[in-house]
Symmetry: C2
Subunit: 442 residues, 2 copies
């Protein structure tokens, strides 16, 4: 993409109402614009990151055997009355009357609706297990929306729902999602720790939050340090036994302030104890017959009898992750995107737009990097060098290539790695080969 | 995908409330489920078609130089009050009060919001032209939703907005979209005719609807037959002169009942006169300063003076197209998907699941067709052959491969082309080569 033909409205000033880094940087880097409290437009640069995250989340769900569908944003209140949630949900639910005075709502979650869909079609244990998911905009009417996309009102979420004949099978579905989440977050370039969550009245041990560590995290995390060092499961057979991947993590202490047990924590060797702030980016939850019982979702079992189906839900905050990744990966100059979710791979800075030689060198780099799959953003504007450098650091592409008349005289361009600041001078061809190699593995 | 692991709830009976073919077939083929009046869940098969259409629409927008972003579904009423549309819109607008009693609405369209975004950032003619688009769910609270996704309440639309310094430049943006639409619909496998639309109080000649012909179309179309035969522009230079592609179409008569002029129509040679029913799938519209003037969207011109920006909007009904394509392409047995938007490329029918030889032949075909990029759906269920044939015809994949013990004895499988019903017996390897070739061009 040529910057002159793009829409990248960066801001010089930090907006006063943005208090955390991700909110400030997303506004300044032209990724989002606030339209109302807690409601944002995703400008082109922000949307690219959002879609890359969404794609990775989708690929890992598919790999785990979950099947994608899409439920609507607007739901009838009727289903929520069946489960008793219409009254229970409180003012965070955006309640709507349509033109015929029917009670509707903008879905904050979809357990009720997916259970209705399930019971409409599935009658036999032979069709189980089923893992269905969708990636859809949700709405929660937060009293005080804040922190940009981290606690907005309209947000994009991936939510998966499992349906199983009994708790033992449901555990297998739960494990699939546990492993899929580990792989998902690893591919997103972040370290997410599975932390035991509060099961509430449902009870049991099958509920985890996935948190990433960042200073601005909303909750305190207490955990065994080794959790941070474990490699993701990677390619596994999702129809096989996944318990090794889950068990070795669950064997290590990890809790938020909500579920923290000081005594258990103290039992960890002192040098392995870790306390930090965490941001929740995923939550998986087995809830048994909480929705299927009141809604009568039953299947015929192998024993010829009807069984109430056992369910779980599994969420990932897709839009929240954009902010969370920035919280975990930025510096005073701007964002530092992991390669897998960077809006563009490489920024090309033309230090003298209009200069015949510089323009030609940039054009040829631009075509070569496009062909090499590095998805370059070419700053072909007439802005001063300082403006170009600052903007490129702000938007945080993994690599920058600076092309100027002085370097070209010596046959070199400058390649900079955004994360480390490391720079090296290379011939244009060597730069292309270097960058192509860097992206080959993504 | 293996059918046993998918979620494809086909219905035996035609639902009584579905009156047109696309609505009936989408329900029967397990593509959608109605959740409330005019509000649908997209089941896995339907979602795959929706996403394929969306992807083609996106690619052609990008090719034309439009830049993608994403505006939220929920908007503040304030912007709509600025343009006077809040009162004008009527009961089709879904009006919402949030928990702080602020007036909000579920966006039925986005001229007001995009104009606000534009005026927040763009100050100079040097940043023009701008073509911005998004693909987002909209809501129109139809009094009587009907015809399934063809006239639903929650629907997916691609809407592009152009911003130009004057009418002459705006015409160039309009032409870009005109050409992009021709290419888009051609890639979707349908013939869409640009028909002059009613400009209303705005006046001028820059407004067209794109309609496809189908018996169930909502409006009468009168046009010159040659319009149906013209090849799409294909690869063009969008920064160059596009008028030849537009002018040669506009030179031929085409109107709906709304804009029809019987005398002009009669001037067409009799054998070239055509009358048919049409479904609107796109609408492009130049409206000048209708939104930019009341909202004060101005830029500094090359003359050093402020100019009110001239705008246009360009819509494609993405979810509606799923139904419209079925209306244009089905038979008594089910859907007949064009290759470019088919949910899967090839259906594999195992006539004797459980038979060792049949299973092995199907598995090997399945892997080979996956590797060949034919996106197979393998019916590995224990259902009877008749059920499998009927279901495969119903969902309408372009090709079917039937594998049975009798054929295998002779070393052949049967390949069927869904659209023509033509069948041929081929060795499994020849079938793979044939199908791979068929999909190589998509």
């Amino acid at each position: 993409m040529r910057l002159s033909q793009y829409f990248l409205p960066v801001l010089k000033e930090t907006p006063a109402d943005a208090t955390i880094a991700s909110h400030q940087l997303m506004l300044r880097a032209g990724m989002i614009k606030q339209n109302s409290a807690g409601i944002y437009s995703w400008l082109p640069l922000g949307l690219k990151v959002l879609r890359k995250i969404e794609t990775i989340v989708r690929e890992e769900q598919n790999r785990a055997g979950a099947v994608e569908m899409l439920m609507p944003t607007i739901q009838s209140a009727d289903l929520w009355k069946e489960t008793g949630r219409y009254d229970a949900y409180g003012p965070e639910m955006l309640r709507i009357m349509d033109r015929h005075d029917r009670e509707m709502l903008f879905g904050p979650t979809n357990e009720d609706m997916i259970t209705d869909i399930f019971r409409s079609y599935v009658r036999s244990y032979k069709d189980l297990p089923k893992l269905l998911y969708h990636i859809q905009w949700k709405f929660r009417d937060e009293r005080r929306p804040r922190f940009g996309v981290m606690r907005g009102r309209e947000f994009l979420m991936k939510d998966t729902y499992s349906f199983d004949i009994d708790e033992a099978s449901a555990r297998l579905s739960y494990y699939k999602m546990f492993v899929a989440y580990l792989n998902t977050f690893a591919r997103l370039g972040i370290k997410a720790i599975p932390v035991k969550a509060d099961p509430g009245p449902i009870g049991g041990d099958l509920t985890h939050e996935f948190v990433i560590l960042a200073e601005t995290g909303e909750s305190e995390v207490f955990c065994h340090k080794d959790l941070l060092e474990m490699a993701p499961p990677g390619e596994v057979d999702f129809s096989g036994d996944l318990s090794e991947h889950v068990d070795k993590r669950r064997a290590l202490y990890a809790a938020t302030d909500e579920t923290h047990d000081e005594e258990e924590f103290k039992a960890i060797p002192a040098d392995k104890q870790m306390t930090a702030r965490g941001i929740e980016v995923g939550h998986i939850f087995y809830f048994g017959d909480k929705y299927t019982a009141p809604m009568g979702a039953k299947v015929m079992g192998p024993d010829g009898k009807e069984h109430v189906v056992q369910g779980g839900s599994y969420g990932i905050g897709v839009s929240r992750l954009v902010g969370a990744i920035i919280e975990a990966s930025h510096d005073e100059n701007g964002c530092i995107w992991p390669k897998s979710v960077a809006p563009f791979g490489v920024g090309i800075i033309n230090l003298k737009s209009g200069d015949e030689e510089a323009d030609a060198a940039c054009e040829s780099l631009y075509s070569a990097l496009e062909a090499a799959g590095c998805d370059p953003l070419y700053d072909d504007t007439k802005d001063r060098g300082g403006v170009k450098f600052g903007r490129m650091d702000l938007i945080g592409l993994p690599y920058q290539v600076t092309v100027g008349p002085r370097g070209l005289k010596n046959g070199v361009v400058e390649v900079k790695i955004r994360a480390t600041g490391m720079k090296k001078e290379l011939s244009p061809n060597a730069a292309i080969v270097f960058l192509q190699t860097e992206f080959a593995e993504v």
